[in-house]
Each structure stands twice: as structure tokens, then as C-alpha cells.
């Protein structure tokens, strides 16, 4: 008994000694990094990190003097890790990376290839890999991280939540985290896309507190369309329609709005509730083809034309039109990938591989040329479920 007691005591004393070293970090010794931007300057990487200033952000700690809720540290070095360490010459605290919300890559860096910068972020034990990755469109990542935002005080948080929200409710955007991007990069017969972020307005005003003092900020960050990659290199942008088609094909649409033209002119908008897309690859006589099957359920959301919704025949017509619109979107998107960029962003190669691995082995080397001439067939079912809280619109009853 005595021996155990002495042992315990020694253990406790040893514990006291270990306090204060090893991995221990107090919260107020950390610079919490929420956004990371990477650009290429010549042969070197320019790393910019957006660090939160907790006292300005947390509720109940608003001091009278308005200071920026975040600060930006930037360093240039031949490798990223060096750049991260070099930041300590600027920052009073060690930059802590577990809470990165967004990683922004400069467009010029993306055009040279994103693969090399991802290794550090996926290798480092401190980082979590659940942040979103975006491309700074027509700008550097550093400038993008400098724009102050209203409502969400932390710009990185703003980007994170608006991408999160719009990827759920708006078809043209899509959110990819680091691990998803890496798995896209290493999957055969599939090329990644990433959402772009754009500075709207004058970047220099965006840096100043003036930007968040107005109802309508002069400069703001807007999520834009999708950047298309070939392997790790970015080669161009899809426009909104094509982005929409891309997400439809990739089964990324959770909910969105789609507008249709009424038979008698005018617009009718449906709210897509559920969508399910299946891609199947086929090989016939040595020629590959792809079948895309969609199943969409929607509600009627807005009627701006005279249409008789009580009539099942009209509903059938609307459904048909929805289907046609969807096909058209997908065709546009596929066409852009086949003709304009010549890159398989849809994973059609992957679908062919799944249906006929032997054939894939033969063509995998020259898949791009096969992809450009690939025949894509569309089929699908669209269903209108409900028409909202009214039946027919009151528009036609308005006294003229």
C-alpha cells in the first residue's frame, strides 16, 4: 500500500513538472487562422493568412474603438511550410491552423497547378481537412482575404457560410473540401472543378472599415461560377448555365430554383425539391457512350403567366418542359467541357471504367480524345408535386 502511495505521489509530482511544456498552448497565445490564401510570385509562394482578432468578434466584448475584426499576415517563401514559419516574424502569436474555414487559391496559381500546395495542408497534423477551397477569380488570394464584410464580421466565415448555404439552395455553386478535392485529383477519368470567388467593387475600399459602415458595401465578395480543371491545372470558367448543368449531372443539386417559359408566354418558376442523377457508361462496338438519367421532383413556386394549373394536362406539359430545360442545361455543360476545355470534369471516364474496366485499360491513355467525341444520351422523369398554397394564380382574375 505504502509503495503504491509513494508511486502515486511521484507520478503526481511528475505531472506538475510536465505542465507548461510539450504541446500545451493557451487560447490567448494562439493566432486563430480562419482563411488562408496562396498565390504564386515568381518561383515563390506568397502565403497570406487571415487571423481573427477575438476581442472584436466575440459578443459582449465590443470596445468603443472600432478595430478590424481580422488581420492579415503574408509571407513569401520557396515552400509553403517555410512561409508558414516565416509568419512568426510578423505575428506576435503562433498561427494556429485547425480552424481554417476557406482556402483561397489565386487564379494564376491555379492555372499553374494546385497539386503542389495541397500536400502540406493534408499532411500537417494540426489542420482539419473540412475547409472549403475556392479560386480567387481575376485577382490574388491575398486581395480577396482583405475585403471586410458586413453581418459576418469575419470574411472567411462569410465565404464559408455563403458557400455552404448556396450549395444547398442554388444549383450553380458547389462546395468542395480538401479531402474531396484530393480524391477528385487522384481518381482516374475525373477532373475537378472549384467554385470561384470574386471581388465586386474596388479592392482598396474593401480593406477599410468604411466598407462595413454603409448599408450597401462598396466592395463585396461574391461567389461566382465554377473553375474547370484539367488534371491539377485550371483551364477556364463555366458560366452560370453551364455550372448549373454540371451540378445537375454530378448529382450535386439538393434544391434550386428553375424558371420555365409558359406555353402562352411569361415565366413560371419551379422549386426543385429533390433531384437524383445517375450516370451509366456503355461500350458498344468499341465506342463508348454515356446515359444520364435524372429524376426530379419540384413544386410550383411562382407563376407569372396565365396557365391553368387545375388541369392535369397542363401539369404534364410543365413537367415535360422542366425535363427539356434540364436536358438543355446538361447539354450546354457537356458541350463546354467537350469542345471548349476538352476535359472530363463529369467523371464519364470513371463511369466507363466501372461498366467496362477492360475497355478503360485500352483507352485510358487517350481518354481525352475519346471524351471529346463521346455520345451522351439523356433520359429522365420530372414530377410536379404541389402548387404551393394556392391553385391557379390570381393574375388572370385581376380586373382589366
Amino acid at each position: 500500500m505504502k509503495k503504491i502511495g509513494i508511486g502515486l505521489l511521484c507520478g503526481l509530482l511528475l505531472l506538475m513538472v510536465t505542465t507548461g511544456c510539450w504541446n500545451r498552448r493557451e487560447l490567448n497565445t494562439l493566432a486563430i487562422q480562419l482563411g488562408t490564401g496562396i498565390d504564386k510570385v515568381g518561383n515563390q509562394y506568397r502565403l497570406s493568412v487571415q487571423v481573427v482578432n477575438p476581442g472584436q468578434v466575440a459578443a459582449g466584448y465590443n470596445s468603443a474603438t472600432m478595430r478590424s475584426p481580422v488581420t492579415l499576415y503574408a509571407a513569401t517563401a520557396p515552400t509553403l511550410f517555410e512561409a508558414f514559419r516565416k509568419l512568426t516574424t510578423l505575428s506576435p502569436r503562433k498561427v494556429y491552423g485547425a480552424h481554417i474555414r476557406v482556402l483561397i487559391l489565386g487564379e494564376s496559381l491555379a492555372r499553374e497547378g494546385v497539386d503542389k500546395v495541397l500536400d502540406l495542408l493534408s499532411r500537417d497534423a494540426e489542420n482539419r481537412t473540412d475547409f472549403y477551397i475556392m479560386i480567387a477569380r481575376r485577382n490574388t488570394a491575398e486581395n480577396t482575404l482583405k475585403v471586410l464584410t458586413l453581418l459576418e464580421k469575419i470574411p472567411s466565415n462569410k465565404l464559408y457560410s455563403s458557400l455552404d448555404a448556396s450549395s444547398h439552395a442554388w444549383a450553380p455553386t458547389t462546395a468542395f473540401t480538401l479531402d474531396q478535392l484530393i480524391s477528385q485529383l487522384v481518381t482516374e477519368g475525373l477532373n475537378p472543378v472549384l467554385t470561384g470567388v470574386q471581388i465586386q467593387g474596388d479592392p482598396r475600399i474593401g480593406e477599410t472599415p468604411k466598407n462595413v459602415e454603409e448599408i450597401e458595401p462598396a466592395t463585396r465578395l461574391v461567389l461566382s461560377d465554377l473553375a474547370v480543371f484539367h488534371k491539377a491545372r485550371m483551364i477556364g470558367w463555366l458560366n452560370e448555365q453551364e455550372s448549373r448543368g454540371y451540378n445537375l449531372i454530378m448529382n450535386n443539386v439538393k434544391s434550386t430554383a428553375a424558371s420555365l417559359t409558359c406555353p402562352g408566354g411569361g415565366k413560371l418558376t419551379v422549386e426543385v425539391l429533390r433531384n437524383n442523377t445517375k450516370i451509366k457508361g456503355h461500350v458498344e462496338d468499341g465506342e463508348p457512350s454515356i446515359n444520364i438519367h435524372i429524376k426530379t421532383e419540384a413544386n410550383i413556386a411562382e407563376v407569372n403567366c396565365e396557365i391553368d394549373l387545375d388541369n392535369p394536362v397542363t401539369i404534364k406539359k410543365v413537367e415535360e418542359q422542366m425535363k427539356d430545360t434540364a436536358f438543355e442545361l446538361m447539354e450546354k455543360s457537356v458541350e463546354a467541357a467537350q469542345n471548349r476545355y476538352k476535359t472530363d470534369i463529369f467523371g464519364f471516364g470513371q463511369a466507363i471504367f466501372r461498366s467496362n474496366p477492360k475497355y478503360w485499360d485500352q483507352v485510358s491513355e487517350r481518354w481525352t480524345e475519346k471524351f471529346v467525341r463521346l455520345k451522351v444520351n439523356y433520359s429522365g422523369v420530372c414530377l410536379i408535386r404541389r402548387s404551393g398554397t394556392t391553385g391557379n394564380t390570381f393574375l388572370k382574375d385581376i380586373k382589366r
Binding site: 500500500m1 503504491i4 502511495g5 503526481l12 505531472l15 506538475m16 510536465t18 505542465t19 507548461g20 504541446n23 500545451r24 498552448r25 493557451e26 487560447l27 490567448n28 494562439l30 486563430i32 480562419l34 481573427v52 477575438p54 476581442g55 468578434v57 466575440a58 459578443a59 466584448y61 494556429y96 485547425a98 480552424h99 474555414r101 494540426e126 482539419r128 469575419i154 466565415n157
Partner: protein
């Protein structure tokens, strides 16, 4: 013995009959009897409890316990008459283990009355009292109480053996006995249950446990005591089963809060910042801006301040109580935070820890948790969550090794006894609790007729 004797009954039942003897001729009466002592005890004295005692030493003890002794010249034996009567505190409401619904009486310092309080609840000839005196100087009355048709012989014999082993000059409180008879001396956990509520003791006896009453204290011991017993409140059985189950769940949650809240806070904020949601992290970081101490020192300071306040609150005279509590709350709650020495979250953590520790119905378990909390804080500060889990593992080993009078301490969780789960985490409705806990009342397992 002045002060120990009820002078009224001494006068009425002993002195008055003896004086009246002078007025009548006693010799013929005496001659018809074998001896004076028998004559006195059977014909003259009208007290209820009269006994002829041979042993001089025993008689001395009786005298010192407030009984009257009559010595008759020419006899080695003497008479003992029980007319003892000390000024006693009357039965009051219990100060610990208070309930909203349930009996409102508590034991007192009087041994006989305590036995009577239990007997009033259990009117069974099998309720046995086995009394003895312990303490060479104090000669304190200590009694085992059990229901012989239910309690396990093994446990009863074991308790008896352990009590007889005690050699000490004095027993002033049941705590003395508790430390002598517990299975392991060096453990933070109580392996003997104590209560000042007769209904709790009676319920224990009905489950087959053994009660140990000590003269001079309202706290009665109950063995074997298992881990789960310290989470059961007498009110659980007076309330409906559904709310009882939920409240019991709340008690287990508070047990974990009071044991781990400060250590988890330390571990998460100094080692595992990645585990917090980003916004919470920023909020915590803002509060810690400018706090000069590491989280561990901060927590230690606050916990020790709280313990000081608590201890002072118990000991200080009632009249200064208010002044001290105002200073205490101001120091802890407001000034420390405003001065920037302590972060506001830490005050919240310490408060929730302190409040949770009072949710446990038994004070002895919250005391052991209080001690362990500091151990866990040290582990968290040096090794983070890894340290906490290493500590939990060690604690579980220790708990599983503990026994209370031969019954594993973690019964019915480890060893798992499915049948006893009805009164562990849950409190089943009474009609569903048909059997007594296994391993304790093993003589008679069935509490209810099976078909109802």
C-alpha cells in the same frame, strides 16, 4: 448519577416503595422469600426493567450509563433498575438528505429512540438487534440491526466479526466504526453508506442490508454499500417512476459534470482547440485575452477559492455568515472577472461544478468526487484528454476492484446483473420490482407475489 437519571421515576418507583417498606412488618414477608433481592425486585419496586446482576464491573458500567443500582448488605449480587433519562433532542427534520415528499423525521442521538424509529417502520419479529459495547473508555453502545429472514448470513457474520475486532478507547461517532470496518482504507470512495433518515435505513434493511447504530450520533451506517446506492434518493421511491428515472439520469450527468467539467475545459482549451466549434473558440479566446494565468492555474485558483468559501460557510458563526457570503460572491463572481484575473467562462465552469456536486443525494460521494476533481485537473493540464482518459481508466480499475463486505462495488453494472437494472439507471414502477438486489438479500429474493 445526577443528570443521567430521570429523577421523577427514581423517586416514584424506587425511593417511595423503599420508604413505604418501613411502615409495614417485613420479616414475615422476608422469611417467605428465598432472599431479599428477589423480594425487592418482585414485590417492592415497581419499575419495569429490573435485573439481578452478578458482575460488579457490568454493574459499574450500568451505573455510569444512568441506571440505578441497589446494593443489599450480605449479597454479592446487586439490583439494576433502569430509570435512566437524559435530556434529549427531540426527533426533528433531517438536515441532510432532505426531500419534498416522504417522511420528515430523522434519527437523534438517543440509541433507544433510533431503534424505535426503525421498529416503528418494520414490525417484524425477524428484525433483530444485536448490541454490544465498544470502546474501553467510552463503552459506547453499538448495535447491528438486520432482518434475519432476508439478510445474508455471510454479510451479517462478517459485520459482526469486524465490529468485534475493534479495540479502541472511544467511539464518539459512527464515522469511527466506518473507518474500522470498511474493506479498503485507502480509497476515495465510500464503501459504507450512512443516513440520518429512518426510512432510508428501513428500506436498506428490507433489501437485506445490515444497519449499524451507534449511541450518541444520528448517523446510522448501512452495509454493504454499492456505487449506485449513492445515487438513489429516498424521494425516487415516493415519486412516480418516470420522473424518478429522469432525475436519476440527471444525477449521473451531474456526477460527470462535477468530476470532469474543469478538467475537460482545461484539456480542450490548452491541447485540443481543434475540437471546439470555430465560433465558440473565438468567443473563448476573446474571454481569455489578457488573463495572466494558464487555464490550469486559473481553474485551480477558482476551485480552491470555492473550497475555502464552502468550508468557511460551514464553520463560521451564523451571525457573520451574510458578510462572508457577500464578500465571497463579489470576489468570485464579479471582481475577479472585472479585474481580468479570471475569465468569465472559468467562473461558469466552477459554478456549474459546485452546483452539480450538490445534486448527489449522498454527501459522502460528492466528497470523494471533490478530491478526484483536482487529480483530473492535474492530469488534464499535463496530458490533455489523453490524461483524462488514462485517469478514467485507472478510476474504473479501482472501482471494479473495490468491494463492500464481499459484494463487488460496481454491482450490478460490473458484474452485470440484468435483473437488478430495474433500480440502477432506471427506477421501474413498483409492481415491476419483484425481486431484491442480488448478492445482498440472498436468503429471500422475492419481494412480491409473482402474479399481480
Amino acid at each position: 448519577m445526577d443528570g443521567l437519571v430521570n429523577s421523577e421515576s427514581l423517586h416514584d418507583f424506587i425511593i417511595q416503595p423503599l420508604i413505604s417498606l418501613r411502615n409495614i412488618e417485613i420479616s414475615p414477608l422476608l422469611q417467605s422469600r428465598r432472599d431479599t433481592l428477589t423480594f425487592l425486585s418482585e414485590e417492592v419496586l415497581c419499575a419495569g426493567e429490573i435485573e439481578i446482576v452478578q458482575d460488579r464491573d457490568a454493574q459499574l458500567t450500568n451505573l455510569l450509563s444512568g441506571q440505578s443500582v441497589i446494593l443489599v448488605p450480605g449479597y454479592t449480587e446487586s439490583l439494576r433498575i433502569n430509570v435512566s433519562g437524559v435530556e434529549e433532542r427531540s426527533v426533528t427534520e433531517p438536515l441532510t438528505q432532505t426531500v419534498v415528499r416522504g417522511p420528515m423525521e430523522a434519527f437523534t442521538e438517543n440509541f433507544q429512540r433510533n431503534v424505535a424509529l426503525i421498529r416503528r417502520k418494520i414490525k417484524d419479529p425477524n428484525l433483530w438487534v444485536d448490541a454490544r459495547r465498544i470502546g474501553t473508555v467510552t463503552r459506547t453502545k453499538v448495535a447491528l440491526m438486520y432482518i434475519s429472514s432476508i439478510a445474508s448470513d455471510k454479510v451479517v457474520d462478517e459485520v459482526r466479526r469486524r465490529l468485534d475486532r475493534i479495540q479502541i478507547d472511544g467511539i464518539l461517532e459512527s464515522g469511527y466504526i466506518e473507518e474500522f470496518i470498511q474493506d479498503r482504507t485507502y480509497t476515495p470512495f465510500p464503501t459504507v453508506y450512512n443516513s440520518e433518515r429512518p426510512d432510508v435505513i428501513a428500506a436498506g434493511l428490507l433489501e437485506g442490508k445490515v444497519a449499524i447504530l451507534v449511541d450518541g450520533t444520528p448517523f446510522v451506517l448501512l452495509v454493504p454499500a454499492l456505487f449506485i446506492h449513492f445515487f438513489q434518493s429516498p424521494e425516487d421511491y415516493a415519486q412516480r417512476f418516470d420522473i424518478s428515472t429522469l432525475i436519476r439520469l440527471l444525477r449521473y450527468i451531474s456526477f460527470f459534470i462535477t468530476l470532469f467539467a474543469p478538467s475537460l475545459y482545461i484539456a480542450v482549451t490548452t491541447f485540443h482547440q481543434e475540437m471546439l466549434p470555430t465560433n465558440l473558440l473565438i468567443n473563448l479566446a476573446a474571454q481569455r485575452e489578457g488573463v495572466p494565468f494558464p487555464a490550469f492555474i486559473e481553474a485551480l485558483l477558482m476551485e480552491i477559492t470555492y473550497e475555502i468559501l464552502r468550508e468557511a460557510g460551514i464553520r463560521m458563526p451564523r451571525t457573520v455568515g451574510q458578510a462572508v457570503s457577500i464578500v465571497g460572491t463579489l470576489v468570485i463572481g464579479q471582481a475577479a472577472v472585472q479585474a481580468g484575473i479570471i475569465s468569465a467562462v472559468m467562473v461558469i465552469i466552477v459554478s456549474i461544478t459546485a452546483i452539480s456536486s450538490y445534486v448527489m443525494p449522498s454527501g459522502s460521494m460528492s466528497i470523494s468526487v471533490r478530491m478526484l476533481r483536482f487529480l483530473f485537473m492535474g492530469l488534464a493540464a499535463s496530458l490533455g484528454i489523453f490524461g483524462i482518459f488514462a485517469g478514467i481508466l485507472g478510476l474504473l480499475f479501482h472501482l471494479c476492484k473495490l468491494r463492500s463486505f464481499g459484494v463487488p462495488y460496481m454491482t450490478p453494472l460490473a458484474p452485470f446483473i440484468s435483473q437488478d437494472q430495474k433500480d440502477t439507471l432506471f427506477r421501474y414502477p413498483w409492481p415491476r420490482m419483484k425481486t431484491r438486489p442480488a448478492l445482498i438479500g440472498d436468503k429471500n429474493k422475492i419481494r412480491q407475489k409473482p402474479d399481480q
